[in-house]
């Protein structure tokens, strides 16, 4: 089974895992270890078309223009924040859907996981860099003093022409990583400063290499989408956990990686990793470990794992969730103690026992809720920041308490 097949299967199965993790783990332990990543982004892509989302929304500018581009809004947001974001825009969407006379798209929890995973996932793939900027970085970083490209340059290091068959910059970053110790030694010997990357400079370099390379009749090599679950395993086996801790939460030896990877794309994360590779090598050496080497898609998998750290961010404040339940007006319609109410009692709702179940139920019933809210002249509740996560945890705890009571 290919890595992608593995991730797809594992992602789909892990929907339940995520719910289970939330369900059975005590609140104090939510931040300790994240569950496997949920959702099948390729199934989510199909859903994006089949459910008509594409009529109003776009990915990388491809699709409708009425709503926001999901590749932009999905960046750096957690699953919970994305769920909140979707909820916030339902009134406008309900009106639009009714105006156009189409049916309200509904989602199961699994489907919503697929869909949100897709929206999150696409941001992982950088747009190509600028060859013009890449030429400048290539010159300023003095790459030609060691490498030839297009028949020009020194032969201290390998010629870079063959990288032209990869449109994605990750192979270049992986090659640099693997050659890191040798590069550092040779650069030091020649008095050439070690290149330091900012922003998307790795992508720019790759774009320039593609343009300047003399490699002809290129049989372009495309990479299959990285597997964050494989990356998670590699994070352990490649000794990253020694410094960055389980699931990248950091330790006294290395910083947490959640914030660092937030809103960054593959080439940017690859640049950051390179910038710190020297320090990493030193730190690993102190631990008696060698700097790991990456083959195939391993570096991409690890970066995907780092990228997803923010996605399945767990934990939350149940007390704040309870406050939100009151403040957002949920309590007006939903009971929590078995008493009669307009909407279902959320302490007894299976859907509310998981975030995705809650989000899917809210989404599916949004039109009815919208009509009701309209008649009662209540403002549509909006969820910003971590509010959806806190509310979800509060409802999950309610559900747990209810079950424990039974």
């Amino acid at each position: 089974m290919s890595p992608v097949a593995r991730v797809l299967t594992s992602l789909r199965l892990a929907v339940t895992g995520l719910a289970l993790a939330w369900h059975v783990t005590a609140p104090a332990s939510w931040a300790q270890e994240s569950p496997r990543i949920t959702g099948d982004p390729i199934a989510g892509r199909r859903m994006f078309v089949e459910r008509g989302c594409v009529d109003c929304h776009s990915i990388w500018g491809n699709g409708g223009t009425l709503g926001p581009d999901f590749a932009l809004v999905g960046a750096g947001r957690s699953l919970q924040q994305l769920a909140g974001l979707f909820w916030n825009h339902t009134p406008r969407m309900i009106e639009t859907v009714r105006r156009r006379g189409v049916a309200w798209p509904t989602f199961t929890a699994d489907e919503l996981a697929d869909f949100i995973s897709y929206v999150y996932y696409v941001k992982l793939f950088d747009e190509p860099g600028s060859p013009e900027l890449g030429e400048r970085w290539f010159r300023e970083m003095r790459c030609r003093e060691c490498h030839s490209l297009g028949g020009v340059g020194a032969a201290v290091g390998p010629a870079l022409d063959s990288y032209a068959r990869y449109p994605a910059p990750i192979r270049l970053a992986q090659g640099m990583w693997n050659s890191g110790p040798a590069m550092r030694a040779r650069l030091a010997a020649r008095g050439v400063p070690l290149p330091v990357f900012l922003g998307r400079e790795v992508a720019d370099l790759q774009a320039y290499i593609r343009q300047a390379s003399s490699l002809g009749s290129r049989d372009l090599r495309f990479l299959e989408p990285p597997d964050p679950n494989a990356g998670r395993r590699l994070f352990v086996t490649k000794s990253c956990v020694v410094c960055h801790g389980a699931d990248g939460h950091g330790s006294e030896k290395g910083p947490p990686l959640h914030e660092i990877t937030q809103r960054r794309r593959v080439s940017e994360i690859a640049g950051l990793i390179w910038n710190h590779s020297g320090a990493m090598a030193t730190a690993l050496e102190r631990e008696g470990l060698a700097l790991p080497r990456f083959t195939g898609t391993e570096m991409a998998d690890v970066i995907a794992f780092l990228y997803y750290l923010r996605y399945y961010e767990t934990g939350g404040d149940a007390r704040e969730g309870e406050r939100l339940f009151e403040a957002k007006g949920c309590a007006r319609c939903h009971a929590r103690d078995g008493s009669p109410s307009v909407g279902p009692d959320l302490s007894q709702s299976d859907a509310a026992s998981t975030l995705l179940g809650l989000a899917a139920a809210m989404w599916d019933h949004a039109p009815a809720m919208y009509d009701l809210i309209q008649t009662q002249r209540i403002e549509w509740p909006r969820f910003e920041g971590d509010e959806m996560r806190n509310l979800s945890i509060y409802l999950q705890r309610l559900s747990q308490q209810k079950r424990a009571g039974q």
């Binding site: 990915i59 495309f222 299959e224």
Partner: protein, 779 residues
Amino acid sequence: MSVTRREFVWTAGAAAAALAFQRGQDIFWTPPQLPDAGWDPGIESRLTSTCLLCPARCGLQGRTVDGRLVRIAGNRLHPMSKGGVCARGVAGVQMLYHPERIATPLQRIGPRGSGQWEAVEPEAALTLLADRLAALRDAGRPEGLALLAGYCAGTMQDLWRQFLATYGSPNYIADDYPDGTEQIAALMHGIPRRPAYDLEQSDLILSFGAPLFESWWSPVQAFAGFARPGDESGERPRLIQVDTRFSKTAARAHTWVGVRPQTHAVLALGIAYVLIRDQLYDVDFVARHVNGFEDFRDASGRLHEGYLSRVVRHYRPEEVSASTGVPIETITSLARALAASRRSVVIAGSDVMLSPNGLLAGLAVHSLNVLMGRINRPGGIAFGDDPPLAPVGPSRHVRLPRIGTMPPFGPGDPALEFATAVGRGEGPAVEALLLYYANPLASSTHPERWRDALDRIPFVVSLSPFMDETTQHVDLVLPDLLPYERWQDAPAPASYPYPVWGVTQPLVEPPPGGIHTGNAMLAVAARLGGAVAAGLPYEDFTVLLKARARGLFEARRGMILGDEFERTHHRQMEERGWWLPEHEEFEPFWDDLVQRGGWTDLLRDYTDPDRLAQTPSGKVELLPAELLRALAVDGGGRQPYVDVAGLPLEGDDAFPLRLLPYRVSTLASGTLALEPWLAEQPDILQHVPWVPWVEVHPDTARSFGLDDGTLVWVSSARGRYQARCKHYRGTAPGHVNAPYGLRHPDGALASPLQLLDGSADPLTGLLSWSSTFVRLERA
């Protein structure tokens, strides 16, 4: 029972009166007994397929009711045709149910051409064919087998080539559409492939005589480029048509530039003059990627005048205007339009290439793309890819020369060369000839040579599903299934800037006794055994297609056809270097591919230097050394960028009018009379349904006493045919525009090509379509 128009009107009137009389009473439009009449609603189904009626290979969706094809529409998932389909594609329904269709094999029982046939079982026909071929091979004369094949790009062509190679014959004789652009690409770029045109991204299309909306490689591609919305600046793509006649393409263009016949290239170099004079060309591109612009010395040290000197010396606008008839202001404005465009493309069409100096003229027109740096750039010229199909079998090469001579830079007319050689008894004796979608007695410019050739070949087999002119003179007819009854693949033409592999699947059941030619040849290969069977080890053609599609599955790139969002998404992913696998197993991949109609890969790599030039220098050669060598040996003193106009011929008293044949969009390739739907709309400008016509300027026609609609003889020194004289102001005075491929209602062919004087470009061997003079006489 037939009903006359008068009877119908009376009946309808009586019915209306009866209805009025019965107003207020109950009327049952569906009497209870109607179901008994067998008029129940039918069972409807829709299947995707690909059109095989012209090289464009558009996506189709066939609608059937109770197993009968009732409508052909477009497949909206096709990346180029996007749900569109032309009149010819729609009329395929009438081809399917055409009364002249041959459904089962026939064996001749009388003299050739006598029309005496005997129906034979398919198995018996296959045995007959296999036995003849086995005897020929066993006698040690496999080169005595020849195939004349019409346009059949894709697996059928590969199957034929594999069959012949493993059998031991070099004689794959193409009878398709050579246009000379492949030779331009080979000479200037070192890439022996017809160029592709990225019209979908062009903002200016400058066409020199290319019939984009009529009979180009893909009219739907032209529509896709022309009819799309504007870019981010709101500018819509512009089309400028340089043409000798006010054609359908000219009528659709934003600007029509009328030009004298055989002077298109002179105009192109006049434009080049202005671009160079005003420094409007891409100086950086020319400096970095082009050889031959400046004067240069060759390997022997001989000094050659470069492109710059030749253009500046010979193509001042005043001289160009006098030669072409195009005003100086227009020449200047065309140059400035090119310079102002960010994504222009210049196309050399058949009017340029099918002339006595076609290759040199084509080089001159294409040089504008080079000057403007429009090679392997968005919206410009590209060299596309073939779909990554698995090979049909292990490749073999037959070390024997093909029958017929070849010109230095092109195939010429290999079918005519073959017929001429065979008719004269030159080369190895041809003892068996297979005709696959070829009807040379109708389509050839010299059918008499084909008659001579056929007389010398003892065993001729036609695979045509229609009793066309040539099929009437064969020994065995093994009719192929029609496109709506068979499996086939349909790769897009080379004019597409990206590969598309369309799949044709049966929309309806084939007739009893019908046999797919692919299956027939695989069966014959199995019976022949040995290398032939080993080279084609497929149970049937569908198995072969699936085997080839494994190459697509394993390529880990591209996509099964999808809608606009999916196409863009896949392309964007590939631009970023990633590829989304949709199928983990081959069978679901194949099922999805068939259901959606095919496969494509829309990414274009603009950085690969081999897509710019594969010459020894790695640069585009404006003055290719091999061309200069060939001209030095046998060029009659001709020089590139100097001798690009046609010969200054004028008519005489016997034949005073210049004949300009052209293809119409509904061309039926001369095999079949037009289906009724097509015969009624042969060309939107002329409105001459059902009969062949010729277009003459009204003043010219009147000078010969010919009224509009007069039936005339069109006569040249070689022959004559009948047509209606159509007064048309879009024809230059002194010229006769003649559509090619039409027939009279009785089936008689009206072919202006059979009047051509035979003059050809000696470099490519392509016949000149604009060097013949005719007269018109009242019939």
